[in-house]
Symmetry: C2
Subunit: 444 residues, 2 copies
């Protein structure tokens, strides 16, 4: 059966079929029936937008899958509504789009999460609103907003309006509408801009005395990427600080394996990108733990002369698993770093043996910044090892919040660690903060 949803397909060909002789025959791929979108549904979106005081558009990967990137760009420019994107749609909306408010979610950006939670209308394109986007308690998500979801499959959450259809059809429908007579949203836009200024992506928690903070590094790296760089990440530090802190310009692409989150994806993902786009520069963000899973692909890159550069974040093992063991097992580490059985080789020897030029960054001062530039400018296949604090936290993030009675409650999306004072939280929100936020133990 063929469904309208795009995606990889596993085809299993039995051994007897493999060895059969087939007659050549015309074969037509059956036309896939897309659910049709009717104009009354388009009108409902327009109507909701027209009456909203705090509208927000959320962009998911379905926009890319329906090949509607440019339609989406046109619609948001026409509507002049703030936009947030999920990680899987990270390069559909450019970081420099005027009212781009950042990426929302459990590992979102703080300002973006305030804005999502404060909205009175969410129009969601091509996202199924999975847990990383909405948290563990859907009733706390955008709790004063009408939610309209446009997606190729039905949304599992109870929302104001579901439009089951192709994003492109709906976006085309919107472009055909006269969009006028709006409620004044200038206050809302000013509020959003204020939050973006007050809560930048790289925040106080990312400041370090020694080593390199991976979020600061990614922010610095973003400045030096070429205008059409392709960035592919592995998991852990590469995934989190990569997706939380990167600034993407038009034409830059970024992707990873979000569904499975498997360590080892980075190198094969990057070399796949390089085979597909031989004229572009590919940057693989990787980690010392994850790169070992498929380290043989270091050679594939060299063998085929692929244009791939590699960043290795050195954090002595499996940093995300360390944080899990801190959170759930009181920091009793098992198989996460050199001390507990996961030592890693000397990359300054191994990478050159495969044929890479080796660079390293131990800070972010002028000398190290020039190393980053040299690394990116080098004509050879090269690697940059970034030495970070082996216990660096991944923040901001939404996690359970501790109440005075010792219980842990799922936090709403706006209340990210490190927790900010309750006054500041309430000021950033245009809706009431939750009871659990009000009751939570806050350190400062």
């Amino acid at each position: 059966m063929m469904t309208p949803r795009f995606g990889p397909v596993w085809i299993d060909i039995p051994f007897d079929v493999q060895s059969s002789t087939l007659l050549r025959r015309e074969w037509r791929v059956p036309r896939i029936e897309k659910p049709s979108v009717n104009s009354s549904e388009i009108c409902k979106i327009v109507d909701a937008l027209a009456h909203s005081k705090r509208p927000l558009i959320l962009c998911g990967h379905g926009v890319r899958l329906s090949r509607a990137d440019s339609h989406f760009q046109q619609v948001i420019r026409r509507l002049q509504v703030p936009v947030s994107a999920s990680w899987s749609a990270i390069d559909v909306v450019n970081s420099d789009y005027g009212i781009f408010v950042g990426r929302w979610g459990l590992y979102g950006q703080r300002a973006a999460n305030f804005i999502v939670q404060s909205a009175d209308l969410l129009v969601v394109f091509g996202s199924r609103l999975a847990i990383p986007q909405v948290g563990y308690d859907f009733s706390q998500f955008a709790r004063e907003a009408k939610i309209i979801v446009v997606d190729i499959e039905p949304c599992k959450h109870p929302v104001y309006l579901q439009i089951v259809g192709d994003c492109k059809d709906v976006l085309e429908g919107l472009l055909n509408q006269r969009l006028s007579s709006w409620t004044d949203t200038s206050g809302w836009l000013a509020h959003c801009r204020g939050l973006l200024d007050k809560y930048p992506t790289v925040e106080k928690a990312h400041e370090v005395d020694k080593h390199v903070n991976s979020y600061q590094f990614i922010q610095e790296l973003s400045k030096h990427l070429s205008s059409d760089h392709i960035v592919v990440t592995d998991m852990g530090t590469a995934l989190l600080s990569g997706h939380q802190a990167i600034q993407l310009k038009q034409k830059q692409k970024m992707f990873t394996s979000l569904g499975l989150g498997e360590m080892g994806y980075g190198l094969p993902g990057a070399l796949g990108a390089a085979f597909a786009c031989p004229d572009k520069e590919v940057l693989c963000l990787n980690c010392d733990g994850g790169i070992m899973m498929n380290i043989q692909e270091l050679h594939t890159i060299i063998e085929h002369g692929l244009n791939v550069k590699i960043v290795i974040f050195n954090n002595d093992g499996y940093l995300m698993i360390k944080h899990t063991q801190k959170m759930l097992f009181k920091g009793r580490y098992v198989q996460v770093d050199k001390k507990t059985g996961v030592g890693l080789p000397d990359f300054s020897k191994v990478l050159p043996a495969f044929g890479y030029k080796y660079f390293k960054a131990t800070g972010l001062d002028d000398r190290n910044r020039s190393v980053i530039r040299d690394f990116l400018a080098d004509a050879q296949p090269s690697v940059l090892e970034v030495f970070m604090d082996a216990e660096q936290p991944f923040v901001p993030k939404v996690k359970g919040i501790a109440l005075p009675d010792g219980k842990i409650k799922p936090a709403p999306l706006e209340d990210m660690y490190p927790l900010i004072p309750i006054d500041a939280l309430q000021k950033a929100l245009l809706v009431r903060c939750t009871k659990s936020s009000a009751d939570a133990i806050r350190c400062d």
Copy 2:
């Protein structure tokens, strides 16, 4: 359900059970009921042996699984019957046991296959007689022999007698019997010994002018192993020439992943052996193609200071797959060597970068033999790269034989490539050769 058959078990613990609090409670592993063996079955084996003129005992891995190695040794020494072993029981019977006739099967030893096919009685311990042991047409296997199979699960082939039970119980039963009044088998033993002399494991097809033939190499290597060396192989050349040509002494162990045959097994298998037996020397036979699958484990060996040495057969890619593509696709190579997309790194650089001392063998003259000795004697973790002919055939082997009408028929176990003249074949057999052997096109 627990079955009497030993083996690895996958236990899947659901997430909610993982996070439950359990009360401490006594738990007894239920006793596994083994099928019982009765004395009349033992008597039938004794009776069959007493009346056989050409008896042969076949040893499979079930003997090891039933922890009956020493019982098996005692029984064969008492009976003075010739013995052959499968690859998975390669170290249950020593190569220097007086009437050990080698290993039988599709990739068996030529003399062993003649002997299996000539026997009038096979007593099989702990083997399910899978295709690699009997070929594709069971009716051609040991076609004049009574076959008695002792195994923990029923044999799927029609045989003279099945004893479903634990090998150890049956072997103990045999040791309790008075074994006397045998038919005279001296002629049979002389025939077996004649075949072993005439058809040694390393034969004319293994002679090479340049490079190293992997079979000759393994034969040479066998001479230098310590008395309790553990040998673990990867697939391809390491598997085939390893298992076909090695001579094992008492206390030496050898194993690989025969059921799945997955490239990449060698390094993790070897380091597992080294963790289990820290006082023994472990030798990993590997290949340039297969070692790449889990090359990160090179570091695990170094990190934990494991006593593992590595042989890498360099045959420019995937030699077994080359032979498959020759056999089935007229040698139109796809993704098997450097020319067709599978280049490999320079191991003389990569291995030292991980911390190994590097040796190489380019022949088998005195200088190269001393390299082999130096490699094995070296106190450091070390690797020996063996440069072989990138197209070296794996012989002897049983494969389909071509008939004059162009058809291909499955060959009987005795008719191995390279095919020997029909007169010699018939002389080596004490049963009639098959019609397909008689009709087959033979080059010499």
